[in-house]
């Protein structure tokens, strides 16, 4: 039933031309030509997200906070995809945590995921209590994105900046040894 409803919403959205001028630079996404019904979103509040930030197994987790409205995030996203592809076999899991607006899940986020054919795991964080959960992610984070966390069970680093692929790989290698 929920899926049916989602489908219906998708149809509604795809019928309508996007005339909003308020949204940030996501102009390059061609919304209307896409079928996004097979993109499923995992939408969580911070309590739901927290376990992904605190796993205690043998993997290395690369967690990137991003949004389709965030231009520097979009720019670095391919590097995370590349990292996921290159290091999956080495026990590295890339998780892309989207901070998109709920009213744009259908119109922006799903089409984006489809268009860019994102392969990394995607979680969607929908939690307005930002002043509560932002410091839980990192005490030094003031809320600007993109930010990235790389961690394993022994070590954790927080990066308050965008990455090139080489920079990202260099950081990851500190965790691989």
């Amino acid at each position: 039933m929920k899926q049916l409803l989602a489908l219906f919403v998708v149809f509604l959205v795809s019928c309508k031309t996007d005339t909003k001028t308020e949204t940030a630079k996501t102009d390059s996404i061609k919304v209307d030509a896409l079928t996004v019904d097979d993109v499923k979103l995992e939408i969580l509040d911070f309590n739901g997200l927290e376990p992904y930030l605190t796993k205690n197994d043998d993997s290395i987790y690369v967690i990137n906070f991003w949004a389709t409205w965030c231009a520097p995030c979009i720019k670095e996203l391919p590097h995370f995809e590349q990292l996921n592809k290159n290091y999956k076999e080495n026990g590295v899991e890339v998780i892309l945590v989207s901070l998109d607006f709920p009213h744009q899940y259908e119109s922006k986020l799903k089409p984006f995921i489809k268009e860019y054919n994102l392969k990394s795991k995607i979680l969607v964080l929908d939690d307005v209590n930002m002043n509560t959960w932002i410091p839980k992610v990192n005490e030094n984070w003031d809320g600007a994105i993109p930010v990235t966390i790389i961690y394993n069970k022994d070590k954790r680093k927080f990066y308050d900046r965008p990455f090139t692929y080489n920079e990202l790989e260099t950081e990851l290698k500190q965790f691989l040894n």
């Binding site: 308020e22 630079k25 965030c70 520097p72 607006f101 209590n129 930002m130 809320g143």
Partner: protein, 209 residues
């Protein structure tokens, strides 16, 4: 002899540590209690605006904001409401657009003017030309608010952070951080929450700068 050999090293250490300090100050910007710099920035009407122009103000609600960030857009009506409520009480809103318009053309002075007209901004909307002011404040994103209290020592930072605790829905807000801060200052009380955090859009700078 030994001393002579170690001298250059010592000098290097001094120079390096001096640099570190500079960089730290630059990155961190103001903390609550610091004196905020005044500025002379161009408003969308072409006039230059400084805090010193506001002879009767008791303080300021300085908001780094822009046209293109969806969070900033979400807060436009609430920023207008803040000015409506507090300008007459002595705390006008001063909006500063910190992005480099070469990187973010949607934040050019023309675009700012257009947006201000559409929304009916009742406060100055200033271009941080050359991007010299926002780093001094330590703003990292839009929207990013600094409530300042005017004193004999200068404009003292009393609050840094978000406007309220629900970007999505103004009617579902539980805590109005900025209003609480200004109300406290107007009543001569301690600001209940001096620093809050919220997601926002990174301030856009030219690569390598």
């Amino acid at each position: 002899m030994k001393l002579i050999k170690t001298m250059p090293v010592l000098v290097m250490v001094f120079i390096l540590s001096a640099f570190t300090v500079t960089i730290d100050t630059f990155n961190n910007g103001y903390e609550v209690g610091d004196i905020a710099t005044d500025f002379k920035l161009k408003n969308i009407d072409g006039e230059m605006v400084s805090l010193a122009n506001y002879k009767d103000a008791k303080g300021f609600i300085v908001i780094f904001t822009c046209n293109t960030c969806p969070y900033a857009v979400k807060y436009e009506d609430r920023i207008i409401a803040l000015n409506e409520k507090y300008a007459k009480k002595g705390y006008p809103v001063i909006a500063i657009m910190p992005n480099n318009p070469d990187v973010q053309p949607g934040d050019s002075i023309e675009a700012m003017k257009a947006r201000a007209t559409v929304k009916g901004f009742t406060f100055p909307y200033l271009m941080d030309k050359g991007q010299k002011i926002y780093p001094q404040y330590g703003a990292t994103k839009t929207p990013h608010v600094y409530v300042l209290e005017k004193t004999n020592r200068g404009n003292i930072v009393k609050y840094i952070g978000a406007i309220d605790d629900n970007y999505k829905d103004a009617s579902a807000v539980n805590t109005k951080y900025v209003e609480n801060a200004v109300d406290a200052l107007l009543e001569g009380k301690i600001v209940p929450e001096t620093k809050t955090r919220a997601i926002g859009c990174t301030i856009k700078v030219k690569k390598g700068s």
